[in-house]
Symmetry: C2
Subunit: 275 residues, 2 copies
């Protein structure tokens, strides 16, 4: 068994993978989300762990598109609080720091702190953990990275300032992917993607198949239908399992009203990590 | 009168601004979308033109968030076909090109063409028109940019390969913003943002206020409600004007079902540019 994720060792996706699959699970870090999907889809006993949504920044739309493209099943989810720290080589203090490296989104999430720094270059990097790795590898005593506590441990950096993210209610939700579906009877949540007919009220009718059966909708996300300008695909998360009778009836009703519909997975809810 | 947009001269937003406000309209190029909103919100007789959605890549979510933050009104929309060309200094041929510069999304949109180039560095730049400008300013005879025909004209570059975008059904929709609302009686389309109560079926009920009155929904977009993880704001476009009786009834019904609702504007439809 091996789990692919995007980023360097120390990335948040690594933490999510270990939480879901177990601390000691073998991991395959990949360069891009596309590579994670490809790896999980083609290797035996392989899985993927991808971020799908951040509570401040919204959905990771590329991963919605990749869910459609590949035939993988969602087997579970993990919610992780995003905690960002400023880290540097041991012995380096905030006074010594002339450059701060991190992923553009992490820099944005620490905007208040970053603005408070004087005479410091702020540099966007491809990955949070990658920034920490670079500081270690190049022995940069004039620089700091913004990354996770795991990245500090992985690359032997010391945390100079803790929890510098502006919004502490900042969570990312990850999805665990597999070539085989999870046992639907254990599912409490079902993810579905569909396209409606190009007719007035079509989306409303599609959502009615759930509402009329008192199946609660947790999330809806729209994505463009490529090649059909101003038409959309809809990704919905609803409460309940595809193994339940009323869900099966809702899905069969959905088939009547859509040009395309696919269940991406039925899986248990994640709790939200407290720290 | 002056219209702010994001990017350099020659950007697609400039084209959209000229199409909507007239060829000779005075323009104020700005560095970021945030600056466009700020300019349009604070200067007298000033307007903004922003991209909101691409038919291949989806919504520009940052601009949805900025629509909420600022109190500007949508007064119209423009749809533009995205045509991308490879351009270089006069006398430079494809054989001479060692580096290709463009915005990352434009590079993505020309992926098939870019992959067909051999021994060429592909470099992501902050802006398509900015890449064209740089080639002119630095007199780069070893490089080419991927940008609009307008950018070629603006910076005196010659088009080496025309329409290199992979998907020719590639359109971007832009919104015209103003401090004063448009005459609602001329509106054919209304944009609304709302947040629903945290209760089962809440979104379905909110959409019913339109469906039950046979008001057609054209688009729905969800964005995270910051500080309330896994709750959402919804942006919907519906057919009809806020000046119509049934729309006013729908909006008053929507108020009963939501914790917050705001009309962003009622405005005429854009045609889709043929070329």
């Amino acid at each position: 068994m091996i789990v692919a994720y995007q980023g360097e060792l120390g990335a948040f996706s690594e933490e999510a993978a270990r939480l879901f699959f177990g601390r000691a699970v073998p991991l395959a870090p990949r360069k891009s989300f596309k590579d994670v999907f490809r790896f999980a889809a083609t290797h035996r006993a392989s899985y993927g762990m991808i971020p799908i949504e951040n509570s401040v920044y919204g959905s990771i739309h590329q991963n919605y598109d990749l869910l459609l493209k590949h035939k993988l099943h969602i087997i579970g989810e993990v919610k992780l609080r995003v905690q960002l720290h400023l880290m540097a080589l041991p012995g380096v203090s905030l006074r010594d720091v002339r450059s701060v490296y991190s992923h553009a989104q992490a820099l944005g999430q620490c905007d208040d702190f970053v603005r408070s720094l004087r005479r410091v270059n702020v540099v966007a990097y491809y990955d949070t953990a990658g920034a920490a790795k670079m500081i270690r590898e190049r022995d940069r005593r004039d620089a700091a990275a913004i990354a996770s506590a795991r990245a500090a441990t992985t690359y032997g950096l010391r945390i100079v300032r803790r929890n510098i993210e502006s919004n502490h209610r900042n969570y990312t939700r990850f999805l665990a992917l597999s070539r085989k579906p999870a046992d639907a009877r254990r599912g409490r949540k079902t993810s579905i993607v569909f396209a409606v007919k190009d007719a007035p009220g079509a989306l409303f009718k599609a959502l009615a198949v759930f509402a009329l059966r008192e199946i609660n909708m947790l999330k809806i996300e729209s994505r463009p239908l490529v090649g059909r300008p101003w038409e959309y695909l809809f990704y919905v998360d609803v409460e309940g399992s595809a193994a339940e009778k009323r869900m099966q009836q809702a899905l069969s009703h959905l088939d009547e009203l859509t040009t395309f519909a696919r269940v991406l997975g039925s899986y248990p809810f994640a709790g939200t990590s407290k720290d």
